[in-house]
């Protein structure tokens, strides 16, 4: 099975402190460390496990710039056969639909049975997978927590729905799936593995390679624009108890009893 995983390099969720910059219009980006978007990493691991069973290759692609190559190399160190950088000045400032349009052109150049994305990235958008599927007219499923290959034509998938329940469906190939964290246990990628792929060439594709007109993508074509970052004026929020621990405990018990919580 030929699998394409669309990945993204984002500020690492646990190793950064997100703070507003001095100007108050963006987050402080100077000391951010970056890594692959966590759900995308799960998607690559899932792809690797699928091809280990069925044969085939795993390609990881990202839309970005030179800095984004590092995540491609990491996933290649993990076992992906090929990393691809889709880059062009014309792409910068693209909104979700723009990115999906770019990826659509890339997918159409190749012959992929399955396209995976992570469920969402750091901006909580959860959009590229669904948009890509609609542009390609491929069936789509989001929040996928398990994949079973039925045959070369279809998959049996589980989606995470409310109450911890799972929705089981059959989906035709080729399709697009957005992968939820927890679907598997990604293997470890050590420094040594990354060094070993440090000089593997990563092909790049630009707007002309993909036949994309500038009017369809980029900042000009974007219909959704983030204009700033801010910290909202804090509402009343909680009443913070400021006594000693003993005093706080007594107060808590008082309140719990008052609300009917003590039997």
């Amino acid at each position: 099975m030929e699998i394409l995983v669309c990945a993204r390099r984002v500020p690492d969720t646990s190793e950064n402190e997100i703070q507003l910059n001095r100007a108050g219009n963006d987050i402080e980006r100077d000391e951010l460390v970056y890594s692959i978007n966590e759900p995308d990493n799960y998607a690559v691991e899932e792809a690797l496990q699928i091809v280990a069973r069925t044969g085939g290759t795993v390609t990881v692609a990202t839309v970005g710039g030179e800095d984004d190559e590092e995540i491609l190399r990491r996933e290649m160190a993990m076992g992906a056969n090929q990393g691809v950088l889709i880059t062009d000045d014309a792409f910068s400032g693209s909104d979700g639909r723009g990115i999906a349009t770019i990826l659509k052109s890339f997918v159409e150049r190749g012959h992929y049975d399955l396209v995976l994305t992570g469920v969402q990235a750091e901006d909580g958008g959860a959009r590229v997978g669904g948009m890509l599927a609609a542009l390609l007219d491929y069936p789509f499923a989001s929040l996928v927590t398990s994949i079973e290959v039925l045959d070369g034509q279809k998959l049996k998938i589980a989606r995470e729905i409310e109450g911890g329940n799972k929705e089981i469906s059959e989906i035709d190939l080729p399709c697009v799936l957005s992968i939820q964290t927890g679907i598997n246990e990604p293997r470890y990628v050590g420094m040594r593995g990354i060094r070993q792929v440090a000089s593997v060439p990563i092909p790049t594709f630009g707007a002309s390679d993909l036949g994309i007109g500038a009017c369809a993508v980029g900042e000009a074509a974007a219909k959704v624009k983030r204009v700033d970052y801010f910290v909202p004026a804090l509402g009343k929020g909680a009443e913070i108890l400021r006594g000693t621990r003993e005093e706080n405990i007594d107060k808590v018990l008082e309140l719990v009893a008052a609300k009917g919580g003590l039997k």
Binding site: R97, G129, Y138, P139, F140, K156, E162, I171, D228
Partner: protein, 327 residues
């Protein structure tokens, strides 16, 4: 302003709470008009759902089709595309079905897409200004959307207070005939219900809920002791389940259980919206967290900045004392 529609999720004849939140959001976008509800499904359950919305929506469009008995995003999308006028604005709740439906719908409608909106900041001609969050809620952003060719907007559940009900007449319009036959590349097979687990947290009035701050599996016992003393149950947030410290049946949140206790102790829980989405009925929320900046303190009633690994055992001792005195 273009016509605003709200896609309503329903189950067993009952609409999801988000239906009323979407109405409020719609009114905030365009205070002058009334949104139209969109429901798909089939049978008496669909009818019951439609009827329950009469106080919130002046017009309700019903699409009944056997293929839509179970909500399949692709089929629903095809159906909606047949009935939606061009340049419409469609509001959908940002939960598992919305995530499935909305992005693709926006492409087929050739409309702008913006997701997980917390608030509407204003409308300026065809410029819809909304507020979103990024980085797991650590930063907020203003986002401007060009909605001249329509829009699909997903709204965070719980972000908008449900609209006031205005008893009045409302019309249910049956649009089923406009849809035609439906088929899709994805077919629903079945739903696997989560294992019941030993404890049904939805039945408890008091919940001692733990998050990542519990730090390790052995410390779960600390919460259990407090729960035992209070006659409560221990529930948790997603990271605790992912780390396999508690079973999935204990998870409160959008992908876990929905609970409606009287008192909710959020211990070492940061307060991500996915977790809060599982807490309904406005319980008295007490938050205990080492981090004074944890988002949970925004939504809690009472907050204590302390180490739960030290606070909870002492609280447990006090509760036991109270009970022995009472005896």
């Amino acid at each position: 302003m273009a016509r605003i529609f709200a896609y309503i999720v329903h189950k067993g004849g009952v609409v999801d709470d988000s239906a009323f939140e979407l109405a409020a959001a719609a009114r905030k976008i365009d205070p002058d008009s009334s949104p139209t509800a969109l429901l798909t499904g089939c049978g008496p359950e669909l009818d019951a759902a439609c009827n329950s919305l009469s106080a919130s929506y002046a017009e309700i469009w019903k699409i009944s089709n056997e293929a839509l008995a179970y909500p399949n995003a692709e089929l629903v999308r095809k159906a909606l595309l047949k009935v939606l006028p061009s340049n419409s604005i469609v509001l959908i709740a940002h939960e598992h079905f919305g995530i499935d439906l909305a992005p693709g719908l926006s492409i087929k409608m050739n409309a702008t897409f913006v997701s997980d909106v917390l608030d509407i900041a204003g409308v300026d001609g065809a410029n819809l200004k909304v507020i979103r969050q990024e980085f797991g809620g650590q930063a907020s952003t203003h986002v401007h959307c060009d909605v001249s060719t329509g829009a699909v907007v997903t709204i965070r559940p719980g972000a908008f207070k449900p609209a006031e009900v205005t008893p009045g007449s409302s019309t249910v319009i049956d649009k089923s005939n406009e849809v035609g036959s439906l088929s899709a590349g994805r077919r629903y097979l079945e739903t696997v219900v989560a294992e019941a687990g030993d404890v049904d947290i939805t039945k408890y009035n008091v919940l001692v809920s733990i998050g990542r701050g519990i730090q390790e599996k052995d410390n779960v016992a600390i919460a259990q002791q407090l729960a035992d003393a209070l006659g409560a149950a221990v529930s948790c947030s997603r990271p605790v389940v992912d780390a396999k410290w508690m079973e999935k049946s204990r998870q409160v949140g959008s992908s876990g259980k929905t609970v409606k206790p009287k008192v909710y102790l959020a211990c070492g829980i940061s307060g991500s919206f996915q977790h809060l989405a599982g807490i309904k009925g406005s319980p008295f929320l007490i938050a205990i967290n080492k981090n004074p900046k944890a988002p949970i303190f925004q939504v809690a009633d009472v907050g204590i900045v302390d180490d739960i690994l030290e606070f909870l055992p002492e609280l447990t001792i006090k509760v036991r004392e109270l009970h022995s005195i009472a005896k």
